[in-house]
Symmetry: D2
Subunit: 374 residues, 4 copies
């Protein structure tokens, strides 16, 4: 059975609730960075704004908790509060059913309704939930997205702490299943530590032996890259022979390394300003059709915040954006769910097993699509 995207159900604006609806009101920004009172905040759902009577316009790019600005050319832009300029016209109105000229379309795709919620038995995802179908659906989805979509991975450092997971993720990159990567300093540091010393935080990533003075290894890895100037140059100089960062750079896969207060170093590529990092992450997620977040609460929530549940394709078709989170703890999953990132699917497991299993499953189904050139 060929993979097919769920159909988009456009709203029926001929329904009575919409006939009397006003056009949306825009208020002007009095001080840069501050939204006018009564501003409308965007959600993850497709949202329609009645610009003229009967003309309901869909936001082309959205994300949670932003505001909608009427551009000079008549278009609608979605932007963060902090980027508002004095005089910008911001859509106002908080009722989501059309009464303010704004309609938030929560039932855009059929898969959003989960029949299981009606029964008290087993309505919650836990570690005991069956995940077989999720793997199979993911294989089909990634097979489709590899050619037709834009797959963004959000990756915590645990993926490179384990030899097999690190190798498998590198293979996913080589095989074209990774179109962008969002991570922090630690992922890159420990990936390079593994390339140079075969350790992560001083522990061998296969044998688990703690090597002598191993706690120097990540500092030496950082120092080496800082000396050379960049990861790219280190690869060019031939000192990094494997790993995630090398695969990304070889395949020209864009990535963002966002700084955090936990960082040692950091590596030269790391973005120190978190709001600039958000912007750069947003540059990549605006294209995302599928996002997979692996064992990183910080980056997963950050990405969930900037990810809409839909994407408008070049041919103007509306398709869903898939968001998978893989984590060991129900708390992390619930926390994401509690932020309203409803379209997320969750797999509760160790990301090491997840990455290895997914790489193997894709290879079995689709073969190696990328011939390793080296």
């Amino acid at each position: 059975m060929a993979f097919a995207l769920p159909q988009y159900n456009p709203p029926d604006f001929s329904r009575p609730q919409f006939l009397d609806a006003p056009t949306v009101v825009f208020e002007s920004v009095k001080e840069s960075g501050v939204a006018p009172e009564g501003f409308h905040a965007t959600s993850v759902y497709p949202e329609y704004f009645q610009m003229r009577k009967g003309e309901w316009r869909l936001l082309r790019e959205s994300r949670m908790d932003c505001v909608v600005v009427l551009k000079k050319n008549g278009g609608l832009a979605v932007t963060e509060f902090r980027r508002l300029k004095e005089g910008d016209l911001v859509a106002c109105g908080r009722r989501e059913n059309g009464e303010d000229g704004i309609f938030v379309h929560t039932e855009a795709f059929d898969f959003f309704e989960s029949s299981s919620e009606k029964f008290p038995f087993r309505s919650r995802i836990t570690r005991e939930t069956s995940f077989s179908i999720d793997y199979d659906e993911l294989y089909e989805l990634l097979g489709f997205e590899q050619r037709n979509g834009f797959i963004v991975w959000v990756v915590g450092p645990a993926v490179v702490f384990d030899r097999d997971a690190r190798d498998a993720f590198g293979a996913l990159v080589e095989d074209g299943y990774v179109h962008a990567l969002l991570a922090g300093n630690a992922l890159a540091v420990h990936d390079i530590e593994a390339a140079l010393f075969a350790t992560a935080l001083g522990q061998e990533i296969y044998s688990k032996r703690t090597v002598e003075l191993g706690h120097y290894n990540h500092l030496d890895a950082i120092t080496k890259i800082r000396t050379i100037g960049s990861i790219q140059k280190a690869i060019d100089e031939g000192i990094i022979h494997d790993g995630v960062m090398r695969a990304l750079i070889r395949k020209k896969v864009p990535y963002v390394l966002a700084g955090s207060i936990r960082d040692d170093g950091p590596l030269p590529e790391v973005i120190a300003d978190v709001y600039e990092a958000q912007d750069r992450m947003r540059d990549l997620t605006r294209n995302a059709t599928t996002v997979i977040a692996l064992a990183t609460q910080l980056h997963a929530i950050a990405t969930g915040n900037m990810l809409p549940s839909y994407k408008i394709e070049k041919d103007n078709r509306v398709r869903p954006v898939f968001f998978y989170t893989v984590d060991m703890s129900e708390f992390a999953i619930n926390k994401l769910a509690n932020r309203g990132s409803l379209s997320a699917r969750s797999v509760l497991t160790n990301v090491q097993d997840f990455v290895v299993t997914v790489e193997r499953g894709l290879r079995k189904r689709f073969g190696k699509s990328f011939v390793n050139p080296t």
Copy 2:
């Protein structure tokens, strides 16, 4: 590289600490079920008792927190407190270094010393620990044990809540990697529910759809087996076509289903008396050379309690007993570690992934050793 068991390091009883050691003292039981004051309690380690000056005898079968009884024939038996009879002679003495004629040999196998404990970095097993080597070692071990050992699996119901994990565990049984199974009522109930209705607690084990009135399925499964009289008979009647219980029975693999206060039903095979269940579990674990506990804190701790860290083979060689626990939570792992089950290795992941990965890994290495006869 062929798999090799770690060598046993016998104690050197010519060392000074042993030369002046007394012979062990036995006190007689005054009341059945009650040990004499000062009784010696056994550990998971090999323990030696000086029976006559210079004759240090190793307990042939041991387990944690039992007492040692001098049998009429001069042998030493390890037994639970509750099974003591009036007049039994019980070994007394609590010093473990020989001063009471008892030596607890904590350094019997080289692998027990973990060098990683000396360094502060990454000394604890967490979900971020690398587990690649554990899988590879486990494949080697299971390949060896399939032919030379006795592999006991301790299995929580999560294994049969997922289609792929249930199938994979069935394949492990068929391929000869399961020599005994310890579980509770729930494992068998939901395995049979899956065989009859393709659900677990009313949820399809592949599609996750909640079927109508699905909460009746496990009750109907129990009722069906109670009507027929046993799982064996249900298989004979041809109504169970797949799953773990069918594989066990077909392959004549012994199992114990221990009752618990959570049980519905129960199935006819379930043992209501927990101490009788302990005895039956002990009948199987006394042969164990490798034990793997999957997502069950109750049964894993119970088994850990009755499992020594060594086994004496028929040719009197002493070999280690391997104990793996697979669980999602550091708490479960730490709780086991805190009970002194030191020989345990832990993998922190979802057992669904673990079982599927192990089955696939074994098949890849060793092929299918068992030709499905049907």
Copy 3:
């Protein structure tokens, strides 16, 4: 504001759906212990059976996953499958809306509907949920129940591993807030270990120092009680001066210690047969108006299974039964929720803090109601 129980909303049997409903059908048991096909399984909700046209009778005592038997005297009894006798007449029919003469009343009490479920934000209980109101409501509830209800505590051993929590729970017993206790062997063993040696599993319950040979302490505690014959006698002999078990016995609070395969010993009071233990637990929970389960997944689920969401008082008024679970993990809470124990409220915290806080809160509000007589 005086505490008031939520009102019971009786079903309106004059509604059309009920007018054409048939009377319930009873089928006879062919083999003891096996329900007839199509049996009706009870839920936690109030259930009505149409005995004669227009006569809808409410089950007086119910619990999850049992069957309904028509007694010789015309009454309806709820019983476990395994207790069915040949010839018993069992209610059949699985539709819950009256079409089979059976009505399951899921909206009996107003508090069952949670408005928060309608919004995507923060609909799940997590460790970050605010629990202040739960404490305050619990104080009011326990103040009421101390005089008017029957409070059953289900207690894991963690409560006696900590000095302050053990003392606080003892005070709750002394002050009349504990009307029954359900636990396992471990709770009693470590409570007595604490009384005799001030340790739990060899670790001092206040200073946390590991005492020399402390792993003998729980075995010595068990042996001491087995020598004397019972906990009661040990108290009579004056060797136990504090703790939970002493408080229970002094105050004549009934308790059940259910056996499990993890047990050492066990203590003489422990019930080895788990189904007998279920029956004894059921003898106590049938009176329960509030149940509080502390850090015990096994006993909490077992109790949840046997606990209805309502109780019929002597004056025939129907009141809700409150079920609190206190645990550290979202998994445990979700697992309970997934079993359909919908009426449960959850507090995610360490039970040590919970018990100490509740004891202090009750004392502050209501003072010490019980004068310690010694």
Copy 4:
């Protein structure tokens, strides 16, 4: 018993291992931001550098994973790699026992050795560990530190999600137990949301009711502060009447709000550049004598990285720095332990209960030291 700090055990430099030790070597920085090869990285322990034969100098301020620079005036400065300037002289040598002229003093305070590690039973901290003594010791410690030390709290947003915890933390500030606070944007946002709307992420912080359009509340709170210009001004204008931020500002307690990629807004006070935020956090932690981290893995690890295990007082006495972490999960605790932050003590519980209990315990012992002036 009056509280007393553990004594510092200075190293005995007359021991043979030190007599032949060389003086420490300094290498010069060739490129700003890059340490010379063989650099010495600092640890959390007191470290001594042999400057001249027989002159072992203790680092006055240290932290993990930094380098030691010889200042023009002959002093030793500890600094981050990224702050190195060309020509800086950096201490080199990795052996920690004196052989490179560097001695890392891991046994500076008696309390560092934990005897419990020698026994297999209960050596790990879990949720079932007794924490009574930790509370009592903490009361004594905080009573002492309030007058004599510098108490830094590192606080996740969960503390302000709950009414009682938020009030209690405010009282701790008022009573002088908080000398600095490290947090992120979310803590301040939701604290102000609670002040303005009595909600956190739209849910009332006491009743837990989800208010209509409540997901706007945190955005409106941010917008309000951005409009006014700062939290300080909002307090001056009289629109914030309670909460943590108001207490801090009223009491002139310094704080750092470090930005992260998860942030909405942010508030004007938030530092966007994470390395500048590290510097500002370091400005506060350099004075710290006790640090308490509540339910925040990100900030707790960041603070642990910059916190030494000792502090040199004005009178040159060396005292320990205490580091408590309070969290619900063993994973978080183990992760901190795995980073070598050995001096940390952990309490596994919900921070809501922890904060309420600590505030109550301190008030009971020491009374209210601060008279609320309003």
